[in-house]
Symmetry: C2
Subunit: 343 residues, 2 copies
């Protein structure tokens, strides 16, 4: 499988991106990599060119560039060229740690939506920290769209279900709707209607509403939400975990006996940090596009890039994108046509 990489995206590009790609190359013998960026900068960084090709891209979309305008004007940028490789079938997936808005825009305008999908969803996987459930859950949309309507939530549920089956490897993922209470009548009009619609689905294992308080306890395998609430929830989880870690460190460092305690329990702390470092669980996937688009944190280092390649390997190998296309463009479209004929 071939991966198109924006080698210039993120705070540690291109060094850490290239390093991470070399780690992934060593780990996955069936993967080949196209590194997009200025060749004079990238070529010297590649230690071993086995299965790694530098693809010259003269310009770079910066973190502060206005996304849509940048994607439209910087035709020779690493983001635009890497996305174009996927569009043209020259690569199976597009990876970037760069400007999130520009990655979204490139995904939408260059690779394009699956027919039948109104809006793609930014999809992220987080660890389950407590309880007996499996080790992670997937949430979508976490910020591709600030506005939303009923059809978006229903499509996100189906996209999430496919993701759960293929990438998470769960036969019947438990689909939950993020809401402000578990009862069926909770939430605004759109969420109440979404609850009804998802309840009636024979395709989905819909388990009802879930509250954000229960997500880290593994309340659902796939959490369906609008991009505004999902973004706020994701960032609240992230911020609280970081604040808790730093608070505990500060409190422990403030007393001598506790400091001794810290030295003894540091391994435990390290493990906790590992669990909460959700970048380890991979990047955010833009589901609903005609190609695999994966975005990691701007702060990603080589290890995260490598782990994200493992996730991409799974996405490509599982045939997730083709499955989505088959369902929305054919199966569902045909069913809709049949329903129409029956009427």
């Amino acid at each position: 499988m071939k991966i198109a990489i924006d080698a210039m995206g993120g705070d540690n590009a291109p060094e850490e991106i290239v390093k991470g790609v070399e780690l992934a190359r060593d780990a996955f013998p069936d993967m080949t990599f196209q590194l997009f960026g200025p060749s004079d900068r990238l070529t010297p960084l590649v230690r071993n060119a086995d299965r790694i090709t530098v693809m010259h891209a003269a310009s770079v979309i910066a973190m502060e560039d206005e996304p849509v305008r940048a994607v439209r004007s910087k035709k020779d940028s690493s983001i635009v060229l890497a996305a174009t490789a996927v569009k043209n079938g020259e690569a199976d997936a597009f990876f970037s740690a760069g400007n999130t808005g520009a990655v979204l825009a490139a995904g939408l305008f260059i690779i394009g939506r699956v027919k039948g999908i109104d809006r793609p969803a930014l999809t992220t996987t987080l660890p389950v920290v407590t309880g007996d459930a499996s080790g992670s859950f997937t949430m979508l949309d976490v910020g591709a769209n600030a506005d939303y309507k009923l059809s978006n939530l229903e499509q996100f549920a189906i996209l999430g279900n496919f993701y759960g089956q293929t990438v998470m490897g769960i036969k019947q993922p438990r689909i939950g709707l993020l809401n402000n209470g578990t009862e069926a009548d909770k939430g605004d009009k759109v969420h109440r209607e979404a609850y009804q619609q998802l309840s009636e689905s024979t395709q989905l294992n819909f388990i009802g509403n879930v509250e954000s308080r229960e997500l880290l306890n593994g309340a659902a395998d796939v959490v369906v939400t609008d991009g505004f609430t999902g973004n706020a929830t994701l960032k609240a989880i992230e911020g609280t975990a970081l604040s808790m870690m730093s608070l505990i460190r500060a409190k422990i460092m403030g007393s001598t006996s506790a400091k001794v305690g810290y030295v003894l329990s540091r391994k435990a702390f390290h493990q906790v940090g590992q669990v909460m470092d959700y970048s380890k669980h991979g990047g955010a996937v833009l589901l609903g596009l005609k190609g695999a688009v994966i975005k990691t944190h701007g702060s990603s280092k080589a290890e995260t890039v490598r782990n994200t390649m493992s996730q991409i390997h799974q996405i490509v190998e599982s045939g997730l994108i083709q499955q989505t296309i088959d369902y929305f463009e054919h199966e569902r479209a045909e069913k809709a046509a049949d329903d129409q004929t029956e009427k």
Copy 2:
């Protein structure tokens, strides 16, 4: 000042409620308390009746009762009678640890909205955990309304500003709008318009958009949000803090050396728990009503009840409610009339 108490609300009622009220009575010499509930259950629990009166209420609204229907039908319930005491001017504040929906409904239908306020806001105070900012921040709405529009957000900002000035004691509270990015163009249409409107206010110290990731770092003193997003954010913070604590405990208990470390650092852990136990910071206040309505967690014990009485003391003493009424019913209404005349 006189406080009307639903003595039957919450998991630990009436015992812990009565106990907490006695603690508050001993702490605040200028407070008197009316305990609403079945007198045969309450009277034996009161150890010292100084400044505590049992007010007989024959029925109780249960946690699982449908709120609006319960408030309309159970006229002799502790919630309805306590709210009625505030409405009739026989008490300055209404306190409950019971059915949140019923407390909201009693506040709305019995005590009533301030003229000029479309929807009241559930307002909660959370600790600032890191950074140099002050010790807490206030967020509203955290769940009184699932649907919202522009005017609600603007009114919440003004209500939050009064709360910050009076109860938090901050002269010019930093007002932030919870959004999915800090730039002015972030969020859906309503949030973009709210940003504009708040920016133009001469009355508010509006500092722009804040992200949920930064709340515990003290990004703003008052965080304005819609009830759906606010509820998800609050519960995500709460759930993550709880999960982190239990994860750390489990990891530390899993290794012998770490267990020794835990014993040594337990005081630090205890402090962390204290900081994150936001019920210590008081109850949720229903702002925008013609009386003070305060709701604590259903799991509240005597200590929380006592701390919430301290918060209520501050709310009543500060004249927050009258200030809100003066502003919305007179000052603002007159300004609107003047503007109308000028046109």
